[in-house]
């Protein structure tokens, strides 16, 4: 196969020939089986290009619509709309009529016309019948098209109704979620106000202590919570080295089960073991004010810690049960 013909086959398949080129090519195509084979080769080649497009399924309603249209056209095609055929009247042969049309003497014209009356009547009836058939066919086609359109519209309506339902459900869910978020926000706000209030109280106490002339001799330690379930637990320890006495103010510590006590420890770097400063329980609000005095002399109170111990306290702290610590 000549390269230029083969090129034209490729361009023909891709619709790239100009009008004249295409007409000439199609003429050649009709006469040359080898060229047809070349066109087939090129056409098959384009199939791979078609498949390189991302594969996306068509809209599902189109199938029903096309099938309805196909059915409609097919139904319409079963009734021949044209040409219209007229049946000969029973008492007269077609040939005779034809002959009389093609020739015959004028004096016999009147009787001949009379003979034609049944033919004319039959023709009129035939035309009317054919027209009715055509109308019926047309009506059927129209009806099928309307049915197909209805199917499409119903599907679209269902689609929109589904979309509206989904949208309403999402709206309701969003409203619930918004209400829940508002509630959580209110709670958080209240908690924050509460914390602010307590912070103010502690600051006030601190300020009061600062006014104390002996404040410079007082060590103040804030003990932070190590409890996952009570992150708000807090304690402040005031310690006077000179008198070996202190005051512990605690808030938000959880109540302990029976048989358990909180125990305060003073951590002195000069000692291997923290010094116990007493045991305590908290009230229902998790609060306590405890004046304490360690069981042994403390050279330097670097940190204070509270642990959970057995009731009455332990000689050494259980560090796994550390509740608050600070220094």
């Amino acid at each position: 196969m000549d390269d230029s013909l083969s090129e034209n086959a490729a361009l023909y398949v891709l619709g790239l020939l100009t009008g004249d080129e295409q007409a000439a090519f199609e003429r050649a195509l009709q006469e040359d089986p080898a060229l047809a084979a070349e066109v087939r080769t090129m056409t098959e080649g384009t199939l791979a290009l078609a498949a390189s497009a991302p594969q996306v399924a068509p809209p599902p309603d189109l199938r029903a619509q096309l099938l309805a249209a196909f059915q409609t056209e097919t139904d319409a095609g079963q009734v021949p709309a044209a040409p219209l055929t007229v049946l000969p009247p029973p008492s007269h042969g077609l040939k005779k009529t034809s002959d009389s049309r093609s020739g015959g003497s004028p004096p016999q014209a009147a009787p001949r016309l009379l003979h034609l009356l049944p033919w004319a009547a039959a023709a009129v009836l035939g035309v009317m019948f054919a027209q009715q058939k055509q109308e019926l066919t047309s009506t059927r086609a129209e009806s099928s098209k309307i049915k197909a359109d209805n199917v499409s519209l119903t599907e679209r309506e269902r689609h929109y109704l589904d979309a509206i339902r989904i949208s309403e459900a999402a709206k309701a869910e969003a409203s619930t979620s918004l209400a829940s978020t508002r509630e959580a926000l209110e709670k958080a706000k209240a908690g924050l106000e509460d914390l602010n209030g307590r912070h103010s109280t502690l600051v006030a106490e601190l300020n009061a202590l600062r006014q104390d002339s002996q404040l410079d001799k007082t060590r103040i330690a804030v003990l932070g919570s190590l409890l996952e379930n009570s992150p708000k637990a807090v304690a402040v320890s005031l310690w006077r080295q000179e008198t070996q006495q202190g005051l512990l103010v605690v808030e938000n510590l959880p109540a302990l089960p029976p048989g358990r006590d909180y125990q305060l420890w003073v951590i002195d770097p000069s000692r291997k073991i923290p010094v116990s400063a007493g045991v305590f329980k908290v009230d229902v609000d998790g609060k306590v004010r405890l004046e304490f005095k360690p069981v042994a002399p403390v050279r330097e109170a670097s940190k204070f810690a509270v642990t959970v111990e057995r009731e009455g306290g332990s000689p050494t702290p259980d560090l796994k049960q550390l509740v608050v610590i600070g220094g």
Partner: protein, 189 residues
């Protein structure tokens, strides 16, 4: 794989469509509509327009099934060329081909292995095979062919877009299509 059975089956289905067989029409639709719609969608980038093209293709199948010539290609190839040509015509009428050509040119290398939605109408292996065939083309042939197939530009416009002489573009298109057909030989023969 010997798809001649499928081919004969498709050819037989087209003959049955010519005889107004709704079942044959349905089978052909189910088998090829995804491929044809995808071609139209790739060209038009508009689902509504692509839908119209697919509709036209199947209405044309209905009307022209009797004049289908198996000597010029398998039914699926015939239908895909029809879908492509109708989409291109529509694209031209919408005067979009210029910007689309630019998009295609920019998108072409490297070859993208597209499998957004696996089609139920085509065998996965067959699709993979077809993808591989395109992917294996030399870049310059693939670019010329992709542009020619999807953009609807004229020969001269393709030549200008690729900054290559017209003769070179024609040769690349021809060699690319022959190579694709050769690659598909095992699948089709």
């Amino acid at each position: 794989m010997k798809p001649t059975d499928a081919e004969h089956d498709d050819t037989d289905l087209v003959r049955r469509v010519a005889l107004r067989d709704a079942e044959a029409f349905t089978i052909l639709y189910d088998r090829h509509s995804t491929l044809l719609y995808s071609v139209a969608l790739k060209i038009l980038a508009d689902p509504e327009e692509a839908r119209d093209v697919l509709q036209q293709v199947f209405l044309t199948l209905h009307e022209k099934a009797a004049v289908y010539n198996p000597a010029l290609g398998r039914p699926v190839a015939w239908l895909s060329v029809m879908a492509r040509n109708k989409a291109i015509d529509r694209c031209r009428s919408l005067k979009r081909q210029r910007e689309y050509a630019e998009r295609i040119r920019q998108e072409t290398p490297p070859f993208e292995h597209s499998s957004e939605n696996p089609t139920e109408t085509h065998n996965r292996d067959e699709l993979d095979y077809l993808h591989a065939a395109v992917a294996q083309l030399p870049d310059e042939q693939r670019q010329a062919l992709t542009l020619a197939y999807f953009s609807g530009l004229t020969q001269q416009e393709i030549s200008d877009t690729l900054s290559q002489p017209l003769g070179t573009v024609k040769a690349r298109i021809r060699r690319g299509l022959i190579k694709l057909r050769e690659s598909l030989g095992q699948l089709l023969d």
